[in-house]
Structures are given as C-alpha cells and as structure tokens.
C-alpha cells in the first residue's frame, strides 16, 4: 500500500503527482491575480523606557526603597538629556498589526509601522513545515524527515524549558529558596513571613528523589532511579484506587439508579401523552439494560455461552453503537482542524483569500451595514 523511496513509480502515483502539481499550478496562477505581495508580517514598535525612582518612606528618612517608573518617549528624552543614561532601562516592544494598517499608513504617507523580518521569515518557515508534514501523506521524504527531526528537537527542548519555569521554579525553588527566587527569578512573588516557611521543608523529599532519578545517567547508579519510580507508582496507585472507586463506580452506579417509568412532557393530546410516556420510559429501560448487558460482556469468569453469551452479545451491540456514534461526532472537529491549517496557508501565507478583511481597508460590503 505505502511506498518507500526504493520502489519504482506506479501509474497511480504518477496520476496523483500530476493532480497535485496541477492543483499547485492553479493556486499559483490564481495567486498572481489576487492581492499585493504575500506572507509579510507588519509590526508597530512601542518604546519602553524606565528610570529608577528612589522613594524615602515618610516615617524614617533613612529607609529608602527604589522602584522603576515608566516614562513616555518625550519625558524619557528630557530625562536622558538631563541626567544621561544612568539608572535607566529601555527596550522596544513590537506589536503585530494587520497589513491593512500598514497599507493605510503607506497611503497616508509614512508612519511607524514596519515590516518585521523575523516574523516574516517565521511565517514562511511555518508554511514550509505545514507542507512538509502534509507531504508525508504521499510518501516518506526528506522534507518530512527534516520536519520530523525539527519537531522532535524543538518540542523536547520546549517541554524541558516549560518544566523548569512552570514547575521547578514555582513549586520547588520558590518554596526552598524564596529569597533567591524573588531576587533573580520571580520578582513578583510574595515572601513568606520570616522569609521562609518551614512547612515547605517537606519539599526536600521530591528534591532528593529527583536527584536519585537523574542518577540513572551515571554508570552503576541506575538502581537509584528505582526508588523515585517506586514512590510515584505507589502513591499514584493508592490515589487512583480511591479516586476511581469514588468517581466512577459509585457515581456511575448512582446515575444508573433511575425509574423505568417516566411521564412524557408532550401533553398536547392524550395519545401524544401516552406515546411520549412510552418513548421516554423506553429510553430509561434501554439505558439500564445496556449498562447491565455491557457489564456482563466484561465478565471474565464465565465463557460467553448460553444465556450469558446472549446477554454479552447485547452488550457488544451497545458498545458498537457507542463507538459508531463517538466516531461520527468526532469527525466534525477533525475536519475543522484541517480547514484551519488550509486557511493558514491560503490566508496568512499566500494572501490568496481574505475572508476577514485583514488586508483590504474598505470592503464593498461595508455599504450594506453603514
């Protein structure tokens, strides 16, 4: 079914190639008639200028606390020309703006909005990666291999970084070394009264276990990592056992304790009332039967023969319907995902379609609503 690089090209493959190429050509042709330029990202620079501000507390003049005050560009220039760049901090932030804004600015003649090279290159890279992954559907190829290696490398690094800044720092460092964290890592944090909360010493346990875990990297110390592993599996086994019995066994059983007879809502006529009652009650009956039958299906002690076999069979029917329905309902979301990627290619990158009027400043339609 699939093909590796070695195989010769079958007629089917040639045909697919032809169609794909044709499609690409068509798109490119269409592209050349639509819009002005493609795949550019514009940004608006926003200067951020701060100066140190030393405030002395009213009670006691010796107590001084220094904070940073943001100044407007004008104020800042004035300050600098007066006291130079001593104790000032400045940087420039760039906010992304729709191309529409840039075109408008050009039409008006000049402005602060500029083309952002890093983001533009990024956008083209993203488009390349998107196509590279899709190319795998045709067959494995160098582009896919490249994309695959990039995603593995980047994502491994990404999760390590997130793990450090979002877990190690707040959950471990802030607890065991609050002062250090506040000074160098998370200035926003609240120091506990007395600078250290002794109850946090319990977090030495994961610290030690953590280092034992890393011990696996050293030769001869592999066994060290078994202790944290044992700890994790043990605690989690205990937690899950209680959790699942409470949340699944008890609550699901509770949900299933329902009357088999219910009055129908539709009371437009006696017939309709009886009918809807039957309809509603039937639902309840089917539900209870289903749960019991499926439970029988999962029964291990008895072979699926005779009465048990028949009941189990009913159980399988329920399971199959369940799976079918789940499949059907999931499809919709999956298609939407693909549509989103395609829209990214056609809209953000190729500037081929512009459904959200990101680039035209006035749409013909505006006449319709003001």
């Amino acid at each position: 079914m699939s093909s590796s690089a070695s195989e010769p090209m079958t007629s089917a493959q040639r045909a697919i190639w032809a169609i794909v190429c044709l499609a690409i050509v068509l798109i490119v042709v269409a592209r050349s008639f639509v819009g002005h330029g493609m795949g550019r990202v514009y940004v608006e620079p926003k200067p951020m200028d701060f100066v140190a501000e030393v405030t002395t507390s009213p009670e006691n003049a010796s107590e001084t606390s220094s904070s940073w005050k943001q100044l407007s560009t004008v104020e800042f220039d004035a300050y600098v020309s007066a006291n130079g760049y001593e104790d000032t901090i400045s940087w420039v932030e760039y906010d992304e703006v729709p191309p529409r804004a840039y075109f408008a600015q050009e039409a008006a003649g000049g402005g602060s909005i500029i083309l952002s090279w890093p983001r533009t290159i990024g956008l083209w890279l993203a488009a390349f990666f998107t196509l590279a992954i899709f190319s795998f559907l045709y067959r494995d190829n160098p582009f896919y291999k490249f994309a695959e290696s990039v995603v593995v490398g980047v994502s491994a690094g990404y999760w390590m970084v997130v793990g450090f800044w979002d877990t190690i720092v707040p959950n471990l460092l802030q607890r065991l070394a609050p002062a250090f964290s506040k000074d160098y890592l998370t200035p926003g944090m609240e120091l506990p009264p007395g600078g250290f909360d002794t109850t946090n010493l319990v977090f030495l346990i994961p610290l030690v276990l953590g280092f034992m875990l890393i011990g696996r990297l050293l030769p001869k110390c592999g066994w060290l990592s078994l202790w944290p592993l044992a700890f994790i599996v043990g605690t989690m086994a205990g937690l899950r056992m209680v959790g699942y019995i409470e949340s699944d066994i008890l609550s699901q059983t509770k949900e299933t304790v329902i009357p088999l007879y219910v009055q129908g809502e539709n009371t437009s006529s006696t017939f309709m009332m009886i009918w809807s009652t039957i309809w509603a009650s039937l639902a309840q009956v089917l539900l209870v039967i289903g749960v019991l039958a499926c439970l029988v299906y999962f029964f291990f002690s008895v072979e699926h023969k005779g009465a048990v076999g028949k009941t189990a069979r009913v159980g399988i029917w329920y399971l199959m319907i369940t799976f079918g329905a789940a499949f059907g309902f999931t499809v919709m979301g999956r298609i939407a995902l693909l549509a989103a990627r395609v829209e990214f290619l056609f809209d953000d990158w190729m500037w081929l379609i512009d459904p959200m009027q990101q680039r035209e400043f006035v749409t013909a339609s505006v006449g319709l609503l003001f």
Binding site: M1, T253, K254, V291, L292, S301, F323, G324
Partner: protein, 456 residues
C-alpha cells in the same frame, strides 16, 4: 429542601457583597412596602464528619409569604479573641446556644488534640462582641425565599463565627435580622464519616480481589474466558520472527502516574519475554523518560527470565519527546521506514490513536491495541486487528502471566461487577415502584440509597 453552598473564601467577594447591600439599601428607600417579617429559630451547627470549615444553618421561614420575598441573606461575623474583661455579655440565647454547641462539638466528633485546646478556649467565650449594625457583618450570599437552610463553606477551621439571617423584600428592603446564632467553630472531624460508604465499597472490592488471590495460591482452579486479542500476541510475535522484521510497542503517551501506563509496562514484560524466546527484535519508543526507565527494567528482566540476557539491548527502548504530536510524527515516520511486522498499542492514548493505527495498517503490520480511554476505542476498533476494550486491557497482564494469583484478581473484579449489578437492579426496582405508586417511604428509601450510600 434544597441546600445551596456558596464559597466565602474570597474576602473580595464578601466586601462586594456588603457593599452591594448598601446599593440595595439606597434603592430600598424609594420603596413603599413595609419591611418583611424576619425569619425565626435560627440554629447553626458545625457540619459533623467533615474536613472542617463548614457550618450548617437552619431557620424557620419568615411570616411574610414567599412570593413577596426576594430571599434570605446570610450574615456571618468572625469573632476575634480578646482578654475576658473586655467582653460584653451577649444575649442568653446566644450563650445557651454556645454552650450546647460546645457540647455537640465535643460529642459529635472525635476531637483531635489541637481542637480540644480550641474547645477549652471556646467554652471560656472570651471574645470581642459582634457589631450591632448588620452592614458590618460579612454577607455570605442570598438564598431564594423557598429555602430555609444553608451551608456556609470555606470558613477558617480555627476561627469562631456567629451568624444572622434576614429576609429581603421584593424591593430589596431588609427585615430585622434574627438574634445572633451560637458561637460556632467549624472544626474538622478526626474521621470523615461521609466517606464511610466509600470505605466500605473499597473494602468489599479489595477484599474480594485479595480473597481470590489467596484462594488461587491455595491451588483453587481459576477458569476464565478467552480474549481474542491476547491469543493473538504469540501469533503476532511469531509472524515478526518469520518475516525477520521488528516488533513495535507503544506504551501510551502518559506518564507513570497513569495506571494504564503501568499496566502497559506489565504487558510489555510478557511480550518482550515471548520476543526473547522467539529471538525477535522489539523496539519501544516512549513519550516519557520515566516510562523509558520502567520499560527498560521490565524488558531486561524478561530477557533474563527467558535466559537470553545477552540479547537485551537498552538502546531499543528510548525517549523521543513529551510532545504528543512530536512523538506521533517520529513514530509514524519510523514505522514507514522500518515496517514493523507487529504493532502493540497498550496504554493511555488520545487523538494520536488513529494516526498510529492507520500508519501501522498501511505498512501491513498486525496490530493489537488496548486502552481504557473510551474516546479512543472507536478508532482502535476500526483500524486494528484486535482491541482490548477498557477492563480487558487491565486483565491482559493477568492473562498473559497465567499465574494463578494474577487470575484470582480477575475473579475479584467480577465480584465487583456483580455488586454493582445488584445495587443497580435493587435501586431501579425501588425507583420504578416509587414512580408508579408515588409512595413516600419508597422515595425515602431511594433517596437514602442514592444520596447516602452512593453519594459520597
């Protein structure tokens, strides 16, 4: 009688509340209605058997009819401890209630040592008086007029509280508040009694499993039905050996905190053992480094017990990336290149399930999947040769090991299923009879079953 619960943890909310009250007061001055009658018989009790911080409040509805009330506002005040001499006597009712309260607390719950100390302090009643003006109290919220009870949660376990209730008219005008309730300390119980049913259930299931394990060890024969997917394991491994291709084993994409992953590692052990005996190559890429660690241990010991420790190669069990789709990208690429003859998917899977199964199918591998994520079962069922559905997956390790004590645990699970079935049948019967006859005693029975026994 419905019982609502309103979080009072946020001081902000409390402030909003009291300020909100002012606004209403302002508007109420325009009203021509007389203020409604105030509710009566306010009784506040620390909720027994709880983790502390919750107080149960009951009262008798105001004489003003419900349809002329917007609801009742619950006011609370946390008393601050002060030297005795400063305390001013509170009205007898409160003192009495406080006394009763102390009693009930000391009896009602097995008091932990620190609480005993608090109780002593409580009984001395050395508190600053509660302010007279209701607007200085914290409003815990407003409940509909149909309601005559309320659970104040999120209180400080160590704090001491008094409560008042007042009715609110349609125009937002307030009745006079009731007299303050007794001083309540929402202490924590030593044992959480409301979890008793849970404990019993846990004990029943655990002991059933345990009992059968013991019986099995005693040599009681354990007969259990076949599961197609598991019979196919040897076949798959054998096929891989014949074709001289590798076996791919994916242990889900969750970490060791998920028992599905642990079960997957166990199954891996058995598959690896078979592979070692057939001398087939088994490759295990993992999405978590902890899983890699566990998998290596498991496979290594399998090779040892198969008597081929030399054939064990740890580099075939490796970490790829934690990122779900990064992992999938790697595995599906790897599949198309190495064309494994057999693919096992045993563990916790999500959206990637179908990507893996379809790619595996396209390289013509025989595929066996097992997961307990209901949302993914349809895709495995559709795209794999065999699928272990939910509980079957957990049973797999027992089957494959064939050890009596392992099989015993399955019998234990069946006992659990029987229990559930019985409870459902009884409950449904009661509920149905109740629906038809409408008898109150039956209703009480059903409610007890649903809310007390099952509703922990």
């Amino acid at each position: 009688m419905r019982t609502s619960t309103i979080q009072t943890t946020l001081l902000a909310t409390a402030l909003c509340a009291s300020a909100g009250v002012q606004v209403v007061l302002g508007s109420s001055t325009t009203s021509w209605l007389a203020p409604p009658e105030s509710p009566t018989n306010l009784v506040a009790n620390d909720l027994p058997w709880d983790g502390g911080g919750t107080v149960q409040i009951d009262w008798t509805a105001s004489a003003t009819p419900e349809d002329q009330l917007k609801g009742y506002e619950i006011l609370a005040h946390e008393l601050s401890v002060t030297p005795r001499e400063e305390t001013i006597e509170t009205d007898e009712q409160a003192d009495q209630a406080a006394a009763e309260q102390t009693e009930s607390v000391l009896e009602g719950e097995g008091i932990a040592p620190e609480d005993a100390r608090r109780q002593a302090e409580l009984s001395t009643g050395s508190f600053a008086p509660a302010p007279a003006d209701p607007s200085e109290w914290t409003s815990l919220g407003i409940v509909p007029a149909t309601q005559t009870d309320y659970q104040a949660t999120g209180l400080d376990k160590a704090g001491v509280y008094v409560f008042k209730i007042r009715a609110i008219g349609l125009e937002g005008e307030f009745s006079a508040p009731t007299a303050a309730s007794g001083e309540i300390r929402p202490v924590a119980a030593f044992f959480n009694g409301r979890k008793l049913p849970l404990l019993v259930t846990l004990m029943l299931i655990a002991s059933a499993v345990f009992a059968f394990i013991v019986l099995a060890r005693r040599g009681m024969p354990m007969r259990i039905r076949k599961i197609a997917g598991l019979a196919a394991v040897d076949e798959a491994v054998g096929r891989a050996t014949e074709m001289g291709r590798s076996i791919l084993y994916i242990n889900g994409i969750q970490d060791m905190d998920d028992l599905q992953t642990v079960a997957g590692v166990t199954v891996l052990g058995h598959v690896a053992k078979t592979a070692a005996e057939y001398d087939a190559k088994i490759e295990v890429p993992t999405a978590r480094s902890l899983v890699m660690t566990a998998a290596r241990e498991s496979v290594q010991s399998s090779y040892f017990s198969a008597g081929r420790p030399d054939a064990y190669n740890p580099d075939l069990i490796y970490y790829v990336t934690d990122e779900q789709f990064g992992f999938v990208a790697y595995v599906s690429g790897m599949m198309t290149r190495e064309k494994p003859a057999a693919c096992f998917y045993m563990g916790s899977f999500f959206a990637e399930s179908l990507i893996l199964a379809e790619t595996g199918n396209s390289v013509g591998a025989i595929q066996i999947a097992g997961t307990a994520n209901p949302s993914q079962l349809p895709f495995f069922v559709a795209a794999c040769d065999y699928t272990l559905i939910g509980e079957e997956f957990f049973a797999a390790s027992a089957y494959l090991s064939g050890q009596p004590d392992q099989l015993g645990s399955l019998k234990g699970q069946d006992v659990g299923k029987i229990l559930v079935g019985i409870v459902i049948i009884i409950g449904v019967t009661l509920a149905t009879l109740q629906a038809i006859t409408g008898s109150d005693s039956l209703e009480a029975a059903v409610n007890y079953l649903v809310n007390v026994i099952l509703g922990s």
